[in-house]
Symmetry: C2
Subunit: 584 residues, 2 copies
């Protein structure tokens, strides 16, 4: 060992002891006759001292020559500091150094190794190994470790078994695009990397392994939106002999355990609302319920006047923005511009100021009187001092627009407190969703999701109305987990593939093994998968996942540190019987 | 929940209670007026009873119709058995069924779901989901889970952090062949799947994360020898500010913990022997030390007579086979045939019978007298009743041959007791090994392994003699872990790449990021990686890994259950700009 203690360990009780530390030079202060050096490792910072009275001259010179991020080993005596620093755990002591060894030198780092670095995103990614030395990134990775250990022990104590499923599997066109892996031993054929272990965990249920989980990498070759990664990590779970409520109870327990264990937060029973209710109340299937601003539907009380914008709309819906009557006319004009941006897409916005004196002032005073507006206030829950924002149009679109506005305003008003945790379950998702491009129904969750048994007949007459035993766990406006009760009989599964446009041959070729398995005694089963990256980010009080991943890729799917992907040898291509079809 | 209890839970204390169970029909016995059914789940078997006095007739018929592996749910009363079965945990009770629901039917399984199945390897692999229902496979997977939980908690308690490293990385020609993944977003370029997270864990050390581990899948596109898998799992570990002995102590602690926790075996301090000593004493760098039969080198006492076979040999070496003087002449002839098989490759074998009366009878009595043979017995440690087997030839070859013979005889003599655990460390491995094919030195461990500092000069004059700070952990004749102290400065790393035949440009292109990282304050570091599949198999008392992997691949790298790898769509190839170069 190069050290007897780490740089976060020493306290006043060690005074007088000889210790050896090793770490990185965080900074040094040279007063000529005395030099202080902050020595840093994963565990903290300890101050080293060299002074002309007690330190040999050669060592003074050596100490003076140490640059930032040099790796050094020191032996010395723990002494009490003259001026203690109560902000640092080791702030009561310093080390009077008697031996100094430079273990490795360092070039000046391209950005400062400080909590608030001067390094931009690109530079930090290229030198990620230096970025990881910074406390915020380091603490995120440690948090991630704590979360995974807590998940594993909680589930293991509940008799779940972690089973590793294979990474080299078979490509299936359904869902997102697969990454594929050419096989050298099976010429012309390819493996695919799993988008999730879905079919394998179902086969484990058929295999009797009735409580399964796995923390596992998954892969999707998608055009990367911001904050998506081509490889990401799931907490993947499945149970047999369960109904929807059993899975919800089990994983509500897990989530509550994590909130307590990691964030020391107690959360009562999570609300459970249906998908339809979520859309109606929040315009969103992953509502942030840390704050109110619930939707008030105004059709009945806003379509009786001569205001054609409303009268022609499928839905007129508003929210009460708390305290926003202080917004100036200019502020409101900017807000209207904001909802009219193409990303939101509203045509305009009606607003009502709820004055302190009980009066209202709206942008549609020409059409609506005080009595009308008082009803709007009642429905949206607006109080004196609030601002009511009303959008109208086709129901689905306007809900999305008002949801975007609601989130934006909550952000501006500081209502999205990262220290507050408000989980909820959204249940009874639609089984299918209509895809405009392909003009057919797609599975909203995935093709293995079970329709609600009493709605199977509805599949023939009104497929879009069929609800599934599918549920999402939502935390602070993010979907952190989603799952469903699965189909467990061959006939229903074949019917689903048929509805999803598979020919019987395609279904057999791609999922024949699963449908065959269902014929050998498949138990009722269902499960859930959590997005670990996002879960950890939210528990860490943040919403971007990148700094909770040790070595993330950029938006082009590149690892800029190792410079991958890259060209491969002609020899490798030849062994795989592949030719590149690249433009000259 | 489909059940109130599982099939392993009920005891006599539950008599009189109403319970609901769900599971699979293991077997049924129909006596006409009474039917017993064994209901099985992951946790055990519970006996159900239906009888004509207490069971309605329709339910009797229903019970009679249940086939093997049907999935059923039953509600009933726990009653005391008339004839108890003390071999079963639930053998004191049975369930008098009042409600019976068939949850799913089952075709007759293609092999019996019993501990000793009638299914061959191929059939079991194709229907792996049925194979997993069998106790031996199920228990292996549960053991694997227990081992990984124990590893994670032990290391986590020692302040190790599990960090996920990326799966989509860069291909490097050194070492085994990579699996590659074509990139759609970066046309013509490829990711590679990691053969190990080696460079990333070293970068984590540079990043200050001084105790890292990860249980992680690794990939090698090798022609599969028996019992190798293209994807396999490592317990990958790295530490900074450590020397070889620190790593050995830490992971000896982990291994001792596992042996205690999993097998309830206490092992004293593990022996530590050098590679050279292992080769001399056992002819093998992963010796099985559960038994003796250590090599006795006989050159000095066997090359003074007219026996040219010995006189011309670089090494004459023998082992004493305990009790094997009972072997008939025919047995010994067969043994000689065995060592002459091409897989072993010896030209012949000299033997000496050590008779009970103290006399010797050898195949070379013509050349050697009693006094000679007594010395051989002394050196090999042979006692009355033993058989001495002697091989001769070029030192390296003959050591390998005698090691193979030693292992074979130990197997035959039942000396390889799977319940005995004899770990040891083999240290000071050679840095380089000569490769006959390419006529150059290859890194024996990998190119990041540090030569012993005092031997760097020797690299120029006698590269093959240079030893490394590299070590293996051996358990019962299997290498279960291996690692080294790494190079942590750019100059030494560049020199190593040079010795291994990399041009400076190649080194820079492939490992430039690592060598750059070494310039920004890399700490001394080293690590180890355990092969989890093999470790679990050995802890489970077996040597083949396949049944400790949920969904293994066959020797052609195929998953015969899902039928992968497979052809992919022309559209997928086009998106990847790839053309198949397959023979017409």
């Amino acid at each position: 060992m190069y050290r007897t203690h780490n740089c976060g360990a020493l306290r006043e009780s060690y005074v007088g002891k000889e210790v050896t530390l090793a770490g990185w030079v965080q900074k040094s202060r040279d007063k000529g006759f005395i030099i202080w050096i902050d020595l840093r490792d994963r565990y903290g910072i300890t101050q080293l001292v060299f002074d002309s009275e007690r330190t040999p001259k050669t060592m003074m010179e050596q100490a003076r020559s140490l640059g930032r991020e040099f790796v050094v080993q020191v032996t010395g005596t723990v002494i009490e500091r003259v001026s203690k620093n109560s902000d640092m755990p080791t702030g009561a002591i310093e080390i009077l150094v008697s031996h100094l060894t430079v273990l490795n030198e360092a070039l000046t780092p391209p950005f400062t190794i400080e909590d608030n670095t001067d390094g931009g995103e690109d530079l930090r990614m290229k030198y990620r190994y230096l970025d990881i030395r910074r406390n915020p990134v380091k603490e995120n990775l440690i948090l991630r470790h704590k979360v995974t250990i807590a998940v594993r022990n909680y589930l293991s104590n509940q008799e779940f078994i972690e089973v590793e499923t294979p990474y080299l599997i078979k490509s299936t066109p359904e869902g997102a695009r697969d990454f594929v892996v050419p096989s050298r031993m099976n010429q012309g054929q390819f493996y695919a990397l799993p988008q999730s272990p879905q079919t394998f965990k179902q086969l484990l249920m058929v295999g009797g392994m009735d409580k399964y989980f796995q923390i596992v990498k998954c892969f999707r070759d998608e055009d990367l939106r911001a904050d998506r990664q081509p490889e990401f990590t799931q907490i993947d779970c499945e149970m047999a002999f369960v109904e929807q409520k059993d899975i919800i109870n089990t994983f509500e327990g897990l989530t509550r355990h994590l909130l307590k264990e990691i964030n020391d937060v107690d959360v009562a029973e999570f609300p459970r609302i249906t998908y339809d209710e979520a859309m109606q109340r929040y315009g969103n299937d992953k509502p942030d319920i840390r704050f109110g601003m619930e939707f008030g539907e105004l059709n009945e009380i806003a379509q009786h006047k001569e205001f054609n914008v409303f009268n022609s709309a499928e839905l007129v819906v508003g929210i009460a923005v708390p305290g926003a009557n202080t917004y100036t006319r200019k502020d409101i004009d900017k807000l209207i511009d904001w909802v009219r941006r193409p990303q939101v897409g509203a045509l305009g916005m009606v607003y009502v100021r709820c004055n302190e004196d009980g009066s209202f002032k709206s942008s549609v005073d020409k059409f609506f009187d005080r009595e009308d507006l008082a009803k709007w206030a009642e429905i949206t829950g607006a109080k004196s001092g609030d601002l009511i924002c009303v959008l109208s149009g086709a129901a689905n679109k306007v809900r999305g627009q008002l949801s975007a506005l609601r989130m934006e305003l909550a952000e501006r008003l500081g209502l999205r407190d990262p220290k507050v945790f408000a989980p909820l379950w959204v249940v009874d998702f639609p089984l299918l969703e209509w895809d405009e491009d392909t003009e057919r129904y797609h599975a909203m969750h995935h093709p293995f999701t079970s329709p609600k048994p009493d709605q199977i007949a509805l599949l023939k007459t009104d497929p879009g109305a069929v609800k599934a035993n599918a549920y999402d766990l939502v935390l602070n406006g993010n979907e952190i987990g989603g799952g469903s009760i699965r189909i467990h009989d061959k006939a229903t599964q074949a019917m689903m593939f048929d509805y999803l446009g598979f020919t019987p041959d395609e279904a057999k070729e791609q999922f024949g093994f699963l449908m065959n398995a269902f014929e050998f005694g498949a138990p009722p089963h269902g499960g859930i998968a959590f997005g670990l990256d996002r879960l950890v980010a939210i528990l860490g009080g943040q919403e971007t996942i990148r700094d909770f991943i040790a070595f993330p890729k950029n938006n082009s799917g590149r690892d800029v540190m190792i410079d991958a992907p890259a060209n491969i040898d002609a020899e490798q291509l030849k062994e795989l019987s592949l030719i590149l079809d690249t433009p000259k």
